[in-house]
């Protein structure tokens, strides 16, 4: 325990004070200390995107990020996205409705990257979508229904904006 460092993390709007070894990655701390297992341990090399969380609204591979270095940032995990049971975030809803989810292991990371993409670029082209999620491996869907879901989420969001 002598090497442990006290850190404060803000995750999904909540503050957490932890005492952790500095060699723990953000992914490990989220999963093991905070029981937020939505971010997945997969390749652990930054090649698959299954560990993606948003840091100050931008997607990063949490498997390559030390937890101690995530202090002072707003961390958003998949658990922080929906507003409660039955009230999915529009991107989550779109993924479910458009068949973009099969085994689901890549889903949390992809959904978060999509949220970040649409924040920055509310009306992305197919090309922009492909480039935005190129860091996400999916072995089940072949990507087509994922891209369709993201396009649908963008349209839905645009529809709501024009209504407002």
């Amino acid at each position: 325990m002598k090497n442990f460092l006290p850190i404060s993390l803000r995750v999904n709007g909540e503050p957490y004070d932890l005492l952790i070894p500095p060699w723990r990655t953000l992914l490990e701390v989220l999963r093991e200390n905070l029981s937020l297992t939505g971010a997945k341990r997969s390749c652990q090399e930054g090649q698959c995107g299954a560990c993606t969380v948003l840091l100050d609204r931008k997607p990063i591979n949490s498997c390559l990020y030390l937890a101690v270095e995530a202090q002072g940032k707003e961390i958003l995990t998949i658990e922080g996205l929906s507003r409660g049971a039955g009230d999915l975030h529009p991107v989550q809803k779109s993924f479910v409705e458009k068949g973009a989810i099969q085994c689901g292991f890549c889903t949390p990371g992809l959904v978060l990257s999509t949220v970040s993409l649409l924040d920055e670029n509310p009306n992305p082209s197919e090309d922009e979508i492909r480039k935005a999620v190129v860091g996400h491996l999916c072995r089940c869907t072949g990507y087509f229904q994922i891209i369709e879901a993201i396009l649908a989420a963008a349209r839905e969001r645009a529809g709501k904006d024009t209504e407002a």
């Binding site: 997969s42 090399e45 993924f95 068949g99 099969q102 085994c103 292991f105 979508i129 999620v133 190129v134």
Partner: protein, 790 residues
């Protein structure tokens, strides 16, 4: 009382979102690595660094003394009983005892308070190995004097298959054109995102529980019992959410499963194991790399007369389900084309590489690659159109193949026509600019197979008083949509809504025994069982309703949570009311059960004769590619497929299966290759084991998928499989498209840029060394001593 399919389905045929979509979208779904139990320990496996070696001695004493280490086990802590898939091919041990047979073979296991300690302790286990000569090439392994891997296999033959139907020599003699080619395919990994994970608990009552990411929990259950030397009833396998199957180890019990439970017994705590992804990519369960010799005889008009197929499979260190792997290529050569005379020989060879097993499509996509590539060559030589030659030889519904496959529905001709139409083939073939090409590839799959003792599926529906239904089967959802499709069948039959059905995950203590999810069997076999079970429950309820409503049983309609008299809908009650009536007034708890097996006899593996499946699914795939001739890079610019799935119970999920499998096919055709040098995997990483990403697939507008609907009379609501078949021809389609684009025929996979570049140069007569450079690519890759730098 069966329910015939009709256009007026309430739920069947609709694009219902996957039932567990929301729980996965919110991150709530707990995969095995997401489970934590009080007092849980963490396990790690020690793996052999040698491809072939005797184990002289293992000293774990230093490891045991490390703080945080609770238990260490080796092979000798198990009873030494070999387990596996068939009596003649059982060669797995939980941990190696006398020798190791590939780099990565498991030798010892540790349970510790955290993964860090477990990893550190691995370094402290002293294993004394006596390295033995190793062999990596299949043909070398078959030669006399080659290192022998297993005592029972003097010439390293792990499995063989040989059969003949008709008279191949006569067929060749009568042919106007004979063509012989050698093809080679590469080792492929499933590439699912979830690394294998499990938690084992051997409790104080001597009950063994394993939570694991498995496609076939029942098979794991049996194998655990076998390898542990305990009664199966002591074991309970609980399936967790599966993060991608494709048959990577989830079909069988793995070292981690055995070690988790035994370490738990010794430490008296639950023990979790999770592989790292480089472990996953280094160990076994690959798609067999095959050397394929195919000789075909055809008449001038393109009619196929005879085929002789010889296969040498580099099977790796253990058998897995190798016997079946060797039967399939010759068997499936009978489809989708009519070949009246077939001769087949296959050898699966033990080598000191990771072992091979099933992988989406098993050994079939490789055969389709070879066969359909060659078919294009034959067509060209005979001056025939590639589509015409396929139409000419297309098998039709009702036919029986020489090896005994009985085709019920088989819409292959329609698949060809629809693929041609969807892709714009007629406007493109032969008309595309240089370095662009369009190609077709076809194949066929089975809808589950009667391949071992227990192949049946069963289901139970428990109706609850609030009108909801608990659906219990032994089939696992691995992402393909079994949970949804089976629920749709139950909901349709019982006339309730999708949200009224709860689908049970498999728990061998409680769900019916079932082979699991593979061979594209679930929709057909378990679907039929679910339909029967639902009809059983429905019948019980209908009788009660008939009495209550004073009507004829056959006039009772169940729809949208209502139960009423068909010709007088006012006379009715809600589904929930009916159930409560049954339960509370009549004291009847409504449970329906059903079981399905195809009824066919088992395949006679000695002769190769028998009807493997109750229904076969043909497919045709068209691929369009663009080549950069100066770098060899291939871009797949379009892909269109037509697949006969009988009837798409859920078109959205069928699309997901078909397109997902298609992209896996593109990966195998162009990018994927698990490279071993002297038995060591050089690219155990998603960075270097290259699977398609978003930028590697065609634009949405250039992707098409057509369901050919044939309504198979034996399938539930006419459905057949959709998980594997559509991709059987993808590799061949890409290979044929590359040929059209370059004029060069590539017969080894993957068709990588370097092969294309040198192939083009050789064809143009440039660079006298081009052929040597192309050939040296393979041998370069088998030399040792390269570092990470490039």
């Amino acid at each position: 009382m069966t329910i015939e399919p009709h256009e007026d389905h309430a739920i069947i045929g609709k694009p219902v979102p996957k039932k567990d979509g929301w729980i996965k979208a919110t991150g709530e779904a707990k995969y095995a690595d997401d489970l934590f139990m009080p007092g849980m320990l963490y396990g790690k496996l020690l793996r052999s660094p040698y491809p072939h070696a005797k184990i002289s001695h293992i000293d774990a004493s230093r490891a045991e003394k490390l703080p945080g280490i609770r238990t260490v086990i080796t092979g000798k802590d198990f009873p030494g009983i070999k387990y596996g898939n068939m009596p003649q091919t059982r060669d797995y041990l939980p941990l190696a005892i006398e020798k190791v047979r590939y780099i990565g073979d498991e030798v010892a296991a540790i349970a510790a308070i955290d993964e860090d300690s477990a990893e550190e302790a691995l370094d402290l286990i002293r294993v004394e190995y006596e390295p033995l000569p190793a062999v990596f090439d299949a043909e070398d392994a078959m030669k006399p004097g080659a290192p022998q891997l297993h005592d029972h296999a003097a010439t390293n033959i792990s499995a063989e298959s040989a059969f003949q139907f008709g008279d191949v020599d006569k067929g060749f003699a009568e042919s106007d054109y004979l063509r012989e080619d050698l093809f080679e395919t590469q080792p492929i990994k499933q590439g699912m995102l979830e690394p294998h994970a499990c938690i084992g608990l051997w409790d104080e009552t001597d009950k063994i529980t394993l939570w694991a990411s498995k496609q076939s929990p029942y098979v794991v259950w049996k194998q655990l019992a076998m390898g542990l030397g305990v009664e199966a009833s002591k074991i309970r396998v609980i399936q967790t959410y599966v993060g991608g199957g494709f048959s990577e180890g989830e079909q069988e019990a793995m070292a981690m499963d055995f070690c988790a439970v035994l370490l738990s017994k010794k430490s008296r705590r639950p023990v979790k194991f999770v592989h790292t992804m480089d472990e996953v990519l280094s160990i076994g369960h690959m798609r067999h790399p095959l050397k394929i010799w195919l000789k075909t005889g055809a008449k001038r008009d393109g009619t196929l007369l005879a085929q002789h197929l010889k296969i040498v499979a580099n099977g790796g260190a253990y058998s897995s389900i190798g016997q079946l792997s060797m039967y399939l290529p010759g068997a499936m050569l009978n489809l989708p084309y009519r070949v009246p005379n077939i001769r087949y020989e296959a050898h699966r060879v033990y080598t000191n590489n990771g072992f091979c097993g099933a992988l989406r499509g098993h050994t079939i996509p490789q055969i389709c690659f070879a066969r359909d590539s060659q078919l294009d060559t034959i067509a060209e030589k005979l001056g025939l159109d590639p589509i015409e030659i396929r139409l000419k030889n297309a098998r039709q519904p009702g036919e029986v193949t020489p090896n005994g496959f009985r085709l019920t529905t088989f819409g292959f001709t329609e698949c060809l026509e629809k693929a041609v139409e969807a892709s714009g083939w007629r406007e493109k073939y032969g008309k595309l600019p240089r370095y662009r090409g369009i190609g077709i590839g076809c194949g066929s799959l089975v809808s589950g197979a009667r391949i071992m003792g227990h192949s049946a599926s069963s289901a139970q529906v428990n109706i609850h008083e609030d009108g909801t239904v608990f659906l219990v089967t032994g089939s696992t959802d691995v992402g393909q949509g079994a949970d949804t499709v089976l629920s749709m069948i139950a909901a349709e039959v019982l006339g309730v809504r999708m949200e009224d059905i709860r689908f049970a995950m498999v728990d061998t203590d409680m769900t019916p025994a079932d082979p699991g999810t593979f061979s594209s069997r679930v929709t057909f076999w378990t679907g039929n069982a679910v339909k029967l079970a639902s009809e059983d429950a429905r019948e019980q309820l209908a009788e009660i309703a008939a009495q209550k409503l004073k009507a004829d049983v056959k006039d009772i309609v169940f729809r949208d949570r209502q139960v009423y008299v068909g010709h007088d809908p006012q006379r009715g009650l809600s589904f929930g009311e009916l159930v409560r009536l049954a339960q509370h007034r009549l004291g009847r708890i409504i449970m329906g059960k059903g079981s399905y097996t195809s009824g066919d006899a088992l395949i006679d593996f000695r002769t190769g004769y028998g009807n493997m499946s109750p229904a076969y699914t043909p497919s045709a795939c068209v691929a369009e590619v663009e080549i950069d001739p100066e770098t060899g890079q291939v871009t797949v610019t379009g892909i269109w497929g037509a697949h006969d799935c009988g009837f798409p119970l859920n078109p959205m999920l069928v699309k997901g299966q078909v397109l997902g499998a298609t992209v896996m096919g593109i990966g195998q055709a162009l990018y994927e290759n698990l490279i071993r040098i002297e038995g060591k995997v050089m690219n155990p990483s998603f960075r270097d084991y290259k699977m398609p990403l978003t930028e590697d697939v065609p634009w949405l507008a250039n992707v098409g998928h057509v369901n050919v609907i044939t309504r198979d009379p034996s399938g539930p609501f006419g459905a057949k499989e959709a998980g594997e078949g559509a991709a059987a021809g993808v590799i061949a389609a890409v290979a044929n498209a590359v040929y059209q684009a370059t004029g060069v025929r590539f017969k080894s996979l993957p068709i990588s840029p370097d092969k294309i570049l040198f192939g083009l140069k050789e064809a143009r007569g440039e660079d006298g060394d081009a052929q040597a450079k192309r050939q040296s690519l393979t041998s370069e890759r088998s030399k040792g001593g390269f570092d990470e730098s490039d």
